[in-house]
Amino acid sequence: MKLKQISVFLENRKGRLWEALDALANAKINVRTLSIADTSEFGILRLIVPDPDRAKKVLEKGNFTVKENNVIAVEVADHPGGLAAVLKVLSDADINVEYLYAFVEKSGEKAVVVLRTENTDAGIKALKTAGVAILSAEQVYAL
């Protein structure tokens, strides 16, 4: 139920984001979704790709600092209150959300939310118990 995410350290320098994505493009790695956390001095690029291990190698070869970690992908109804319902589950279970980002699947009916909780296993357990649809890695890549 866990989904692998690739994080990349980006110095605030012109063209650095392009260089990272260009490296992936050259390796024919398609990006499912991404988000960027930015501070005044650096950024963290977070990526969901179909082949995270290969993406990590490609980026490391390009001298990027890369880390792999687990996140949770859940399906959320694309209407008002959809995400709020998911967050309430976690809040009630006293689980902190570190960050999240979302994208809408191609059919446009459902949204997918990528969640990073302090403890991934605890997050999955709470969401499952509440009946939230957690997507497997294969399901996310197939979207």
Binding site: Q5, S7, F9, T39, E41, F42, I44
Partner: protein, 423 residues
């Protein structure tokens, strides 16, 4: 050698050096006359403090051959300093000086375990810089096979290291780390490398760097010290106990002075290292101010050598940074930085003065251990480094994280400080 015997020898050689400097170097004659000093006034080793100092500026005024004490026909080799801060400083050697040079460097290499069966990969630059040829002469004295590869060309360095079965390496410590990094990246099996020891010097380095080099290369890393105008490399070297550098004080007489008052300091106190040559023929030096900061130790070393020792150089009196009125050495920042677990020894110090107040920025390359997908964790790490540096040097600094391998790597001396203040 018993203490009394050594002191007698030093005094005899000192008096001889002073006599020749006065007689044959017009610069010294002038200085002595100004001070109303005669060579015969030097009656004991203590009298050395009566002698005038010699600085790089004095040497530049005598550029090129003003400090030579012998006719040109007796000079067989000439070297210069890098000249990055002005006109280069010239060093002239007689055949006897070259012989002495080989002898003292041979002592250094022997301390690292070198015998005639070893292969020395000499990564110090050959040419005007004394590093390359100095080590070369020492290796020849021992009869070891020296590979005069010089600095740079990392790929060839690694190839030769494997193919020739190099056992001893000599280069700057920052280049040694660079080579170790390149070796790891090349994926070469560590067992294919026969290196057992290295003599590293020509720049300021730290114990932490020693640990890194020793761990990454699986070798014993020893500290070599030299001064161009004194002889080049071979002035002092560590024994395998790594308990300070043994100064070859039968050839080079050391003193420690306060860089501010110029008064001699007692043993054990940190100050500027000053050398007087005892056997140099081509270019005797009286109380040459090295600008290097260290302390002298006279307790005998467990290795059995009785010569005086000096601590690892911790900075240069002209590298001293005055930040908001506080004197600090880049090496202090490096030491603090490397005490934080997970930090790699790749950094640069940038000094600016944006609003009439000095700001110190330390750029550190992020390591895998420091990186996280969460901003919070990276920020915590960054603040931890800032807090540790502030605690160690008493100055607030700003730490900026940069990408790995983004700071300039040196194949010679590492440029650690960029002072952008316009004073």
């Amino acid at each position: 050698m018993p203490d009394k015997e050594r002191k007698d020898l030093q005094l005899e050689r000192l008096r001889d050096t002073v006599r020749k400097a006065y007689k044959n170097v017009p610069y010294y004659k002038k200085r002595f006359d100004e001070l109303k000093l005669k060579p015969s006034d030097i009656k004991s080793l203590k009298d050395i403090s009566k002698l005038p100092f010699t600085t790089k500026t004095d040497l530049r005024e005598g550029y090129p051959f003003g400090m030579f004490a012998v006719p040109g026909k007796d000079i067989v080799e000439i070297h210069t300093s890098s000249g990055t801060t002005g006109k280069p400083v010239v060093a002239g050697y007689t055949r006897g000086d070259i012989d002495t040079w080989g002898e003292v460097v041979a002592r250094c290499l022997t301390m690292a375990g070198t015998t005639s069966r070893d292969i020395i990969q000499n990564g110090y630059g050959y040419g005007l810089f004394t590093g390359g040829l100095g080590v070369h002469y020492g290796a020849q004295k021992i009869g070891a096979a020296v590979v005069p590869i010089s600095a740079g060309n990392t790929k060839r360095q690694l190839d030769i290291m494997q193919d020739f079965g190099t056992t001893i390496i000599t280069c700057t410590p920052s280049y040694a780390l660079y080579l170790a990094e390149a070796l790891e990246e090349s994926g070469v099996d560590r067992n294919a490398i026969k290196l057992k020891a290295g003599c590293f010097g020509a720049e300021v380095w730290t114990e932490k760097m020693r640990e890194e080099i020793e761990e990454r290369f699986h070798i014993m890393a020893l500290n070599i010290y030299g001064v161009t105008v004194i002889i080049g490399p071979g002035v002092a070297h560590e024994c395998d106990l790594k308990n300070g550098l043994h100064i070859f004080d039968d050839h080079f007489y050391p003193e420690i002075i306060s860089p501010e008052t110029l008064e001699p300091l007692p043993d054990g106190e940190r100050g500027e290292l000053v050398f007087t040559t005892l056997t140099r023929q081509g270019m005797p030096m009286l109380r040459f101010r090295t600008r290097d900061i260290t302390a002298l130790r006279r307790e005998p070393c467990k290795c059995g050598r009785t010569v005086v020792r000096m601590d690892r150089i911790t900075g240069r009196s002209d590298d001293m940074l005055k930040i908001r009125g506080v004197l600090i050495f880049p090496s202090q920042i490096e030491k603090a930085l490397l005490e934080v677990k997970g930090v790699e020894p790749q950094y640069q110090i940038i000094v600016t003065r944006p609003h009439h107040l000095d700001e110190l920025e330390v750029q550190v390359e992020i390591s895998k251990k420091m990186f996280s997908d969460e901003v919070r964790h990276i920020e915590e790490f960054r603040k931890k480094i800032e807090a540790h540096i502030e605690k160690s040097i008493g100055l607030r600094v700003k730490v900026t994280l940069v990408e790995p391998k983004s700071l300039p790597r040196s194949e010679g001396k590492a440029k650690r400080v960029i002072d952008k203040r316009q004073l």
